[in-house]
Symmetry: C2
Subunit: 383 residues, 2 copies
């Protein structure tokens, strides 16, 4: 049977210019991405914190090379598919920031633990601990304990007795090394503006350092405290210098959600969807574009924002008001569309609401510097 | 550089039982799928209509073989990636049900038109016609004219003068063959129940036959009238025997949206997401599952249904109330969750709201008959 995941002509022949890309496609502005990478690294350097860039948003080798400053070290991943790809491409010191009890995951984690210099897993329960304790490995498992500060998703509640008990179990198990604490302070997604983000970062840090001190009082050494979330790492409070690692992910591209939170400016957004006008419906005041939900994702629509979650670049009077699988409907906020401004085949650029969701829809990213396409990147996917 | 799209162990070693699948994953119930295929074929046979099964929902070779009754003929596709895959796997008589003016698409369409016995494209505008007229091909382009009955997305308005003018242009061009009319009567998605669906199908058919008659009066032969949409093809009106082709797509899996419309019963739904419980949060009355928006998509959330868009099989008291990228939060409608019923590692099955969106999130489908995994299918993706 012929191969399923074919790379058809548009992918074999890299277009020279942004204006030549096949649509719909995901465009990555390399200069903005590099700026985002440098700005985050510089914040970490100033605070004396190690950057453990989370790869979940881009899932590419190329972006991770840039985000790790070319070192190919110290990353966090959300899936084993990512971990495998990075391990196969020479990355080391990888935190698999999601641990569950599947047998298949254990086999793969064992392989990674044996193959890499540093591979870390994350636990947040006694069940997870017991499963890991049964998993054979050539060398001890390096374990982060996930702490729930106030996001209330995963993690052991910071103020529970379970924190000390679980850290003690890990530290006391010869087949494990207790590396420290991990916290995704996702509650910062509900904040707005740099002052609020700094205050939230300060509060999370205070709590995590309290937890660390409780462990130290019980003679449990806690080498590393790692805190994620793009909002708080984009506007870090000075007290975050008490942490050892930052683990943000979304900042590679940023997006409209981060702009609304205040993590970034509009001009920092490095990922867009390119689409072309493929139909005029003057009787409905509608442009048809070749960007449907398979290119943009519906992420953000659940918020029912009055103007919708997206922005069409340089056309803020236009609104994407509907999407089916491969088509989008664009109307104008006030008045009738001047269709002569948007001939069939003309290109529009849509800023995603949530880059993590939008990038995941694309088998290839078209990377550009200014108007020139400089590379195509192929993210991994699946689990 | 090592390959990016790796197939890791879980994919190489096919699990034997549904209970062994890695999670999250997309499960396809082969028996239900075959029933859906047979029921649609039987409706077409009874009405004397050819089935041109639309592949956009599943995008796999294997499902298309079943849906075409093993003939590998007469399908509709939504992307050139699909068209290429089917052409490479011996399919013929392929309608690319989305035509736009990109140069890259034209090159690929030319290849397909030359390679296949029957390849059809679709037009709905003079711009599209003019672009196609410029595209060189070894043999005439077979063209469907897309008609907008009342869905108001793409297509020429059925009652406009443009219909006859455009059909006349196509029929009069030696480099083209006017095959007939195509209509995606997506307005049926707003109907409820088999009576309403039959009435909608009757109305669309009446309008399309009127258009056909207007063409015949102008001596424009109209060999085929093709109508899509799973709702109306699942409960066809008898008058739909006046059509030559049905082109539904979603019926391969059906989903909760189709169940709500009345296209299918709950027991017809052939696609589910398998997920495992990976955390207990008794203090929040929450189960954490390993199904986030990358496994289920957020499609349906924009409707703000009071109980959410999804159903967790055999656990209708449970509600999926939140998703981040790789995690879902499940709570219980009333009272406290009995966590002993849902141990860590236990499996739950989620019915998608929109199978087209959910299936697209998965690099592999796990196909089962009863409890046994019989195959893995790899859909194509991209454009």
């Amino acid at each position: 049977m012929a191969p399923r995941q074919q790379r058809h002509n548009k992918e074999e022949e890299r277009p020279e210019k942004v204006s030549d890309v096949p649509t719909p496609c995901f465009l990555v502005d390399l200069d903005k991405l590099k700026n985002n990478a440098a700005a985050m690294q510089s914040r970490c350097d100033r605070l004396g914190v190690q950057l453990r860039s989370h790869t979940k948003t881009h899932k590419t080798v190329e972006a991770a090379v840039i985000l790790s400053g070319g070192r190919k070290k110290s990353i966090a991943v959300s899936t084993l598919a990512e971990a495998e790809m990075y391990a196969a491409n020479g990355f080391d010191d990888i935190l698999y920031a999601s641990y569950n009890k599947q047998q298949t995951s254990q086999v793969m984690c064992q392989k990674l633990n044996n193959a890499l210099g540093l591979f870390h897993v994350m636990l947040d329960s006694k069940d997870g601990y017991e499963a890991l304790a049964m998993a054979v490995s050539d060398k001890p498992w390096s374990v982060y304990l996930e702490i729930d500060v106030k996001y209330h998703r995963t993690g052991v509640s910071w103020d529970s007795d379970g924190v000390v008990a679980l850290a003690g179990l890990i530290a006391g198990n010869e087949a494990m090394t207790f590396r420290g604490l991990y916290c995704h302070n996702g509650d910062t997604y509900y904040d707005k503006g740099s002052d609020a983000l700094r205050a939230a970062g300060q509060e999370s840090t205070k709590v995590l350092i309290e937890v660390k001190n409780r462990l130290l009082q019980k003679n449990i050494p806690c080498e590393v405290v790692c805190m994620g979330s793009t909002p708080s790492c984009s506007h870090p409070d000075e007290s975050m210098s008490m942490l050892q690692e930052f683990s943000p992910g979304n900042y590679v591209f940023y997006d409209l959600m981060q702009k609304d939170i205040g993590s970034c400016q509009m001009t920092d957004i490095a990922g867009r969807v390119a689409t072309r006008v493929i139909g005029h419906k003057p009787e409905l005041n509608i442009l048809i574009i070749d960007c449907g939900f398979l290119a943009l994702s519906k992420d953000g629509m659940e918020n029912n924002l009055p103007d919708g979650p997206w922005i069409i670049q340089d056309n803020q009077n236009l609104r994407l008001v509907g999407m089916s699988q491969e088509l989008g409907k664009v109307t104008q906020e006030e008045g009738e569309i001047d269709f002569s401004k948007y001939p069939i085949g003309s290109m529009l650029f849509i800023y995603p609401y949530h880059a993590c969701a939008t990038a995941a829809m694309h088998p290839v990213y078209y990377v550009h510097s200014g108007d020139s396409i400089t590379a195509t990147w192929r993210p991994t996917r699946g689990w």
